[in-house]
Structures are given as C-alpha cells and as structure tokens.
C-alpha cells in the first residue's frame, strides 16, 4: 500500500550554468491567485501582512512573502515558507476570490551578468533597468508560454511559469544562453 503519491518537483535536480548566467529551480512555495476589488484591498493586505499595491508592475516583499501586481484587481501572492495564505484570506469578509495555485506554478531563478540578455531572447518586454527596475513584476510571455517575471535584483529574476511548461522554459533558457 502506498500512503500518498510522492510529489516530485518538475525541475528537480536541473541546473544550468554558463558564462554570466545561472538558471536554477526555486524552492517550492505556496502561491495564491488573488482577485479583489479595491474595497477589499486594505483588509486583504492586513490579513496577509503585505501591501497589495495598486501601482502597475509593483511588487511588495515582507520576509518570505511577496505580492506581485498582475492587474488592476489581481495579485500573485507567493510564500516560500509555506505560510497558510488561504487561511489568512479566509478571515477577510470583504468580497474577494483567492485560489491556491501552489502546485500549478513553479519558478526558475535566473541570475548573472547576462540574465536580462538571455531573457530578452524570449521575452518581448523592455528589460532595461529604467523600464523594468529592481522590484518590477509583470505577467508577460517567454517564447510560447505565459510567465510572471519579477526582477528581484540588478542581475536576478524570478520566472514563474505553469508546472507543465517548466521543461520548455528551462530548455529555452539553455538554448538562449548559447545564442544570446
């Protein structure tokens, strides 16, 4: 008898390193797809302990928790320490929608001197420091798939993608790093 199916991270053990670029899987995290009108924003920010920004492309970080602005009423909340985000939102009575997408998404951490150049091989957005500064986050595309891109440092990005696309994203990074 098997007690439970073993959950395997889709990019377990994968690592890519080349001149000026490092691509590695991020640690598993709890994720929330949060939709809420502005009336519920303050209450949700308080319950989650993080400021849900109203500014386009903005992100907020508090400890291991981050909230990325995706749209005027939409945020992606990430907690790398396994905090119970659903329970936190459950305490808010104001109208909102919170969906646990922890296992839908996975993330890659891309860093190094050439990180932005390699990303630009598949991402059409302007990733210069003026247009996409540290802390900027946005839903966009990378090659043929949709990603959420977040600049966590001058030369560091977090790329959130759907789990089933992660192999494609990883291989596209490898190919792009050879050419970029």
């Amino acid at each position: 008898m098997v007690d439970a199916a073993a959950r395997i991270s889709p990019l377990d053990g994968r690592l890519f390193q080349d001149e000026g670029i490092l691509v590695e899987p991020a640690v598993p995290a709890v994720r929330l797809a949060l939709r809420a009108p502005s009336a519920a924003r303050a209450a949700l920010s308080k319950a989650l302990g993080i400021d849900l920004s109203q500014r386009p492309k903005a992100s907020a970080v508090h400890g291991a928790r981050a909230a990325l602005w995706l749209g005027p009423d939409e945020w992606l909340v990430i907690d790398e320490e396994g905090g119970d985000l659903m329970a936190a939102c459950g305490t808010v009575t104001a109208f909102h929608s919170a969906v646990d997408v922890s296992h839908r998404n996975t993330a890659l951490l891309v860093s190094g001197r050439r990180a932005a150049d390699v990303l630009s091989a598949g991402c059409p957005q302007d990733l210069s420091r003026g247009a996409f500064p540290v802390g900027a986050a946005s839903r966009t595309v990378f090659g043929k798939v949709e990603i959420v891109l977040w600049r966590t440092g001058e030369e560091a990005f977090r790329v959130e993608c759907w789990r089933s696309f992660s192999d494609y994203v990883f291989m596209l990074f490898e190919a792009a790093a050879r050419d970029a």
Binding site: A131, S138, T140, V141
Partner: protein, 97 residues
C-alpha cells in the same frame, strides 16, 4: 515590433501580449427575446469593417488581462488612441478623419 499602450498598465507593451477582440461599442439589446431575426443578425453578425479608422476591443491577454478599447487605422496599422473599457468613444480630431 508594434507597441500598444495599455491604459491599465499605463505603458507601451509589445503586441505579443495582446489579443484582438472584435469591434467596440456594440450595445447589447436590452430585450434580446423581442428582437426580430433580422435585427438579431445585424447585432450579432454584421460588423462595419471599414477601411481607415476603426474602434476595436483589445485584451492585454498576457499582461494585466484587461479588455480595453482602441482606435486603430486599418490602412497604416497605427494605434491612434487606447482607452479603458466603458469610456466613451474619444474625439480623434483631425487624426480620425
């Protein structure tokens, strides 16, 4: 690559993030059941499709995911103006012919 100004993200973003979503400012009839077949056909299927300035719905599919409206010239493929859904048709002045 064509850059499209998203009124919600408040910046120019690459066209790959967007999807076209048909003609804009088509009012849905209040009493659909009372429409004759001819009127329903006109509302549902018939579009103006002019050569020149058109008002269209677009969606920032791979960005903020919001629908918005755009005035676009189908000859030059130039976006004259984009504005939030629900806002009235803008006056394009000389640009709109």
């Amino acid at each position: 690559m064509l850059l499209i100004h998203c009124p919600y993200c408040q910046e120019d973003r690459p066209e790959l993030e967007f999807r076209h979503a048909g003609e804009a400012h088509i009012a849905r009839p209040a009493d659909m059941a009372a429409l004759s077949d001819e009127d329903f056909e006109r509302f549902f299927f018939i579009r103006s499709n002019p050569k020149g300035v058109v008002f269209e719905r677009w969606r920032h599919m791979h960005g903020c995911a919001r629908f918005f409206n755009a005035a676009r010239d189908t000859v030059s493929d130039r976006f004259l103006k984009t504005y939030k859904a629900g806002e009235p048709k803008p006056d394009l002045g000389g640009e709109g012919r």
